[in-house]
Symmetry: C2
């Protein structure tokens, strides 16, 4: 680790008021200089959205006492971009931490996740980046059992770094600390959300819809994030942002020869 | 090709009124039964966002004459989900087409792109899916030179299909038809957006920001989408939604042994 204190940028997608980000800051605040830049309002499911058609507001926040903090009207990715290019400018963070999300971001949920998008945006900027999520959607979920693992993972990442342009997707099972078996590194499971829409009528008789859905794991592999979580492990998946399906290149080449 | 007419679902991220989606529909409407489900308003840069905290509206549209069309208040991904699970229900589309986007979605732009997210959502549902984009951001851009390539790519995809859970990212150079050299299949270039924020003051003296930025290609490879476009080819990249950085697994495993 460098001799000067590492610069730690913290964001999330549940918003600056969420218990998950407050817990994350309390777990790691002695490990470096912390700067919080998080959305003013919940931004779950925002994927890698950026704000193009609207302007963005950024306001100082005193929610974190001595810790420099800002709330931003935009998406999690906007938060990281504003932090890097406007707030911190020439001071490149040593690490970007996002979360702790209220709810799982394992398997294909990584694609929809604002939490992981903030981490992946960090990775795109060449910064060591980690997204943390707890498999419990409740606003008042208990994050305390995540503390030692968060510290272990952040310290190891600051010390060793990991391959450039990679972000870790860390998911915690919703178990007591004593029931957690350890950390397991694996791959993203192939799963899907079987969507349904709840069709309601507004007071004026017009239809509207709420997205609902059930998660189905289609992947029997023992080396996936879902398998790790089901067995009581903290799951860690290294993620990148190269969407090229290399295994499909030959077949697609053949189609357009 | 099957004997019955293929079912073609069309969406985009520039909204149902955009010239790009109207052009796309006009290029392919004789190739099958077309159903359009597109956002009511522009949704560029929405990435793989879904609407969780708001309800969604869906209204029939007569913008496309005889063609069944709907406008949706949600994101491009919401459009595909609503089409699949509410509008079409048991009728699985043979192909999902998204675009034609006003502006490039090559390289890392694929991550931010609502156009490609609609296509990737189709791939997640196991449907052959293609996102089309033109390297011209103008509202009144001329898409006519894309016509023969769109038809060739759609016909080849309906005939051959391509590996499951893959979506094609097709980008057209902004050239006259006679200047286009052909189709080149390749990989996503490693590039980045060097962001800047324009800081303005509102009439009440309060700061607000607009996201701006410059694109920098950091990838000298000859096999990338950027290289293909620069040489005057239509670029095709097969994309998947497994973000696992397989090449990083061993190193990350080592960190948490």
């Amino acid at each position: 680790m460098k001799s000067k204190k590492p610069l730690i940028l913290v964001s999330n997608d549940d918003g600056i008021h969420a218990k998950g980000i407050k817990s994350l800051v309390s777990f790691i605040k002695d490990l470096g200089e912390v700067v919080v830049v998080a959305p003013s309002f919940p931004q779950s499911g925002m994927g890698h959205a950026i704000t193009i058609h609207e302007h963005i507001r950024l306001d100082k926040s005193d929610l974190y006492g001595d810790i420099e903090a800002y709330e931003c009207s935009g998406t999690p990715v906007d938060c990281v971009k504003l932090a890097k290019h406007h707030i911190l400018k020439d001071r490149k963070p040593d690490i970007v931490l996002s979360g702790i999300n209220h709810g799982s971001n394992s398997s294909v949920s990584v694609i929809y996740s604002g939490t992981m998008s903030a981490a992946i945006e960090g990775a795109m900027e060449g910064i060591t980046s980690i997204g943390f999520s707890l498999c419990n959607y409740a606003c008042d979920a208990d994050f305390e059992h995540c503390r030692p693992f968060v510290r272990q993972i952040v310290l190891a990442s600051l010390k060793d770094g990991f391959p450039e342009h990679t972000a870790l997707n860390v998911n915690f099972p919703d178990l007591k600390h004593s029931d957690i078996k350890g950390i397991k590194v694996g791959r993203q499971a192939m799963a899907r959300w079987q969507e349904e829409f709840e069709n309601r009528k507004d007071p004026r008789g017009r239809d509207y819809f709420w997205l609902t859905g059930n998660f189905t794991n289609l992947d029997a592999g023992e080396d996936t994030d879902e398998a790790a979580l089901a067995k009581g492990y903290v799951s860690v998946v290294p993620c990148h942002f190269d969407l090229t399906a290399y295994s499909a290149l030959a077949k697609v080449n053949e189609m357009f020869k």
